[in-house]
Amino acid sequence: MSAQAVLTVAAVLFSLGLYCVITRRNAVSILMGVELMLNAANINLVAFSNLSLGGQGPKVEGHMFVVFVVLLAAAEAAVALAIILSIFRRMGTVEADRMTSLKE
């Protein structure tokens, strides 16, 4: 399986994530889009670390980066969903486009 194939998968995932983020109305689904983008980046990181590995020995930054990315994604999801819950409790909806009291 060539690196380019892996990278292509990552690119597709990223664009799907981007699409999902822009068009979705539901805050949770936007978060899902973000998760997609992060996963795409993770694939990239791993693929590139292996790619460059070919030459100068075991290169671990890429993998370390992925570890931290996964970790941070979890933390972020926690806080984001907590906020979504508090919004839901107050406004009864999670549709992002109905929350427009803050505008102009």
């Binding site: 399986m1 690196a3 664009s15 822009i22 370390m64 992925v66 979890a74 999801a77 907590a82 839901f88």
Partner: protein
């Protein structure tokens, strides 16, 4: 050769579930399809020899983040209207941006980068362990701190508050 076939299956599975997540009308279905995508990514990590990452992916992403998202979906939607519509805004602008970015990326990948394999032989896990306390000790500690404040923050926000505080000065009006 078998290895290539397996990779293609996994890639197809991942991209397929990702498409469902992105395009499906029902939020529940897109949530579960996201679960599939994450597993697919974990499999790819395995394929590329990053087994430690695959495990991490499964444990944290699938176990943690997905559970959270499902909880959120469940809590924010009354059970009875399961097929709650996940209406989306007009597709065109988003699609245009996504496709353009994809095009540039693919162009870059296919023509700009060498084609050698992404598989690695070396065992990465011990290296990751050594790096965690070696070169990457600062991020390691900092991420601990991040988890702590994520915990505090989400608890503070999500806690059901007894006295509702109104906005600045509203009490005065």
């Amino acid at each position: 050769m078998a290895e290539a076939v397996v990779f293609y299956i996994i890639a197809a599975f991942t991209i397929g579930t990702a498409c469902v997540t992105a395009f499906s009308g029902n939020i529940i279905r897109s949530a579960f399809s996201l679960l599939g995508t994450l597993v697919g990514v974990a499999a790819m990590f395995g394929m590329m020899g990053a087994d430690f990452l695959a495990v991490i992916q499964v444990m944290i992403y699938v176990g943690g983040v997905m559970v959270l998202i499902l909880f959120a979906v469940m809590l924010t939607h009354r059970i009875k209207d399961v097929n709650v519509s996940n209406r989306s805004l007009p597709a065109f602008p988003g699609a245009a941006v996504a496709v353009l970015v994809l095009g540039v990326l693919l162009y870059g990948i296919w023509y700009g980068l060498p084609g050698d394999t992404a598989r690695v032989e070396a065992k990465m896990t011990p290296l990751i362990g050594k790096a965690l306390v070696g070169s990457h000790v600062l991020p390691f500690l900092a991420s601990g701190l991040v988890l702590l404040i994520a915990l505090i923050g989400s608890v503070v926000i999500a806690r059901r508050e007894e006295t509702f505080v109104c906005g600045p000065g509203e009490a005065k009006r």
